[in-house]
């Protein structure tokens, strides 16, 4: 049983997805999905424990030895990502039943859970597989269910946003497919470890160069790296509220995982950082993303849009840390992956609670909410402080390590720019806090009460985690450093 954990991680949600069709009652489907997600979380915990004790786990699918058979490979990086994904998924699911009961018609709710589980299986598959073609297949499973989930959002704008995401997402995935094809052409293998051994022989060819370039563009589209982020704001803002919380915390992280996995494990660190001007490119785009994303966020009236643009900026921080190409920089990036998942899932879940009670998430609807929904707004404040990077929140930890890594690299201007970027975050968080606490509700607005426990419980688990991991960094830092060391250990 324990030896089959890597495949169980993927197959449990994958098989559970169609089963949702059989159970028609919304409440039962919800309980079923919650159980499956909780089970996945337990599996990922067991996997992480195994990996931390005995190193990377290799699982041969169907007993065929790699590189002929498909290999599932869970190493430190995968295990941490699996843990983050399944944790956020389970916590968000707690609030899902209440939230979608107002946003999606009853007859379509079981379909919603089918798509949710397919998406979960897709992203878990991307992270656990050790086969590059499998990556493409899982990427498309998760993307196709993501398009359909976004289209389930209320209002016709959700359809248009979903369509735009479909076009750009498919172009991105097809670019990755081309890259895989070019690599296969030169090496005759699809297994990641095997590829890593065979690529150096042919690394000087133009084919591999083209494969690398196609991959970087394709994954940047999926990552929503500025200026390829245009699909993200609308797609996330018009999706069902809980889906926004889930996607914002996991989807871009998986794309970042792919970027790290391919550049470090498959192409190798020295190839990745020497053939293309990857470092100045990602550093420049990352810094641009921080400033453009934050500046746009300040002017948003829809609070969902505001936090999605802030995500564009946070992706900038992730990429800046990555572009340093040092173990410290990568540690900072991985810490931020962990921390950003906590912040954004808390914030978007709080917005889901506001939408549940108030009906919309425009800035004017937040007038006086600080007194009417004190617990929800307090969670938004915790998340907002974390986005800014105030001490005692997780945001401070990742910013701190990012700035330290930049200084260690001798990149003083970058360190200063990172701090300046946080100042912009104060501007947009303050606008929300000011409206919620210091302005009176409009006279015609209906009185609003606090959100139900179904929202408050997961919300405060996440907000509490934001504070807890901001004070006690032993676990998150230890994991991030272990991952960073294992990645640099493979390709010194």
């Amino acid at each position: 049983m324990l030896t089959h954990l890597p495949i169980l991680q993927v197959i449990v949600p994958l098989l559970a997805a169609p089963s949702c069709m059989i159970i028609q009652r919304p409440i039962l489907v919800w309980l079923f999905t919650l159980t499956v997600s909780g089970l996945s979380f337990l599996i990922s915990l067991a996997l992480l424990q195994q990996v931390m004790i005995s190193g990377a786990i290799s699982y041969e699918l169907g007993g065929w030895a790699p590189p002929w058979g498909i290999e599932y490979r869970v190493d430190e990086l995968s295990a941490v990502l699996l843990l983050i994904i399944t944790f956020v998924s389970t916590v968000v699911l707690v609030a899902t039943h209440a939230s979608i009961s107002k946003e999606i018609a009853e007859g379509r709710q079981s379909l919603f859970y089918v798509l949710y589980l397919l998406f979960l299986a897709g992203i878990l598959g991307i992270v656990s597989t050790g086969d590059v073609f499998n990556v493409f297949v899982f990427l498309e499973i998760s993307s196709l269910s993501a398009y359909a989930l976004i289209a389930m959002g209320s209002g016709r704008r959700a359809l248009w946003a979903s369509y735009q995401y479909l076009i750009l997402g498919t172009i991105g995935a097809t670019f990755i497919l081309i890259s895989i094809g070019l690599m296969y052409q030169m090496t005759g293998t699809l297994n990641m470890v095997d590829l890593a051994q065979r690529l150096p022989e042919v690394a000087a060819t133009r084919t591999i160069f083209a494969a690398f370039a196609f991959f970087i563009v394709g994954v940047s589209l999926k990552l929503a790296l500025f200026p390829l982020h245009v699909w993200m704001p609308n797609a996330y803002a018009y999706a069902p509220s809980v889906i926004t919380a889930f996607f914002a915390a996991t989807s871009t992280k998986v794309a970042l995982y792919l970027l790290i996995r391919f550049t470090f494990t498959v192409f190798g660190f020295s190839y990745s950082f020497s053939t293309l001007p990857l470092q100045p490119l990602f550093l420049g785009l990352g810094l641009l993303a921080i400033f453009a994303g934050s500046a746009t966020a300040i002017y948003q009236q829809n609070i969902k849009h505001l936090f999605v643009y802030s995500s564009v900026a946070q992706i900038g921080y992730l990429v800046v840390g990555y572009s340093m190409g040092t173990p410290e920089g990568l540690t900072a990036t991985l810490l931020h992956v962990f921390n950003h998942a906590l912040m954004k899932s808390a914030l978007f879940l709080a917005l889901a609670a506001v939408i549940y009670q108030v009906g919309s998430a425009q800035l004017k609807d937040f007038r006086g909410l600080g007194h009417q929904m004190p617990l929800t707004m307090a969670a938004i404040v915790v998340g907002g402080l974390s986005l800014i990077g105030v001490p005692l929140t997780v945001g401070f930890i990742s910013k701190w390590y990012l700035v330290m890594a930049a200084i260690e690299n001798g990149w003083w201007p970058v360190a200063i720019l990172i701090v300046l970027g946080s100042l912009l975050a104060i501007a947009y968080v303050w606008r929300l806090v000011e409206t919620a606490y210091f302005s009176d509700p409009t006279p015609e607005a209906n009185p609003v009460s606090e959100a139900p426990l179904a929202f408050l419980l997961p919300l405060w688990v996440l907000a509490g985690a934001n504070i807890y991991f901001g004070v006690d960094t032993r676990l998150s830092l230890h994991l991030a450093q272990a991952v960073s060391q294992s990645l640099f250990g493979v390709s010194p």
């Binding site: 493409f136 359909a148 016709r156 248009w160 369509y163 479909l166 172009i171 094809g181």
Partner: protein
């Protein structure tokens, strides 16, 4: 000779560019999906071309043959074709619902209805 000998790759590149151009240049949503289809098809042809060995036959063990084409890319691309069909179907389904709620499938008209001022 070299250039002519690689003709199938040139077809791939031509189709790829045509597909991408249609996606970018056309405002009609269905035409965009057609462009996406052409773009994906170019990748299918690319994979099939990669697997072909000149003078090779289908990979069947028989005394008379010693050279075989690689069947793996063909199998891979079957999967990608299925993915492509799913994408097209989903895209067309979205267009149907966009038509129902916006009354149009032209990009410019949809954007005008979303942001009346600009």
């Amino acid at each position: 000779m070299m250039i002519l000998g690689l003709y199938s790759y040139w077809i791939v590149i031509a189709l790829m560019m045509i597909g991408l151009y249609i996606i970018i240049a056309q405002g009609n949503l269905i035409k965009k999906i057609v462009g996406l289809g052409i773009f994906q098809t170019s990748v299918f042809i690319f994979y099939i071309t990669v697997g072909k060995v000149e003078g090779g036959t289908a990979p069947i063990l028989a005394e008379a043959y010693s050279q075989y084409s690689n069947p793996l890319p063909h199998v891979l691309i079957l999967t990608a074709i299925v993915v492509g069909i799913a994408t097209t179907a989903l895209g067309l389904a979205l267009i149907v619902r966009i038509k129902e709620s916006y009354g149009s499938i032209e990009e410019s008209e949809i954007q005008e209805k979303d942001n009346p001022k600009c």
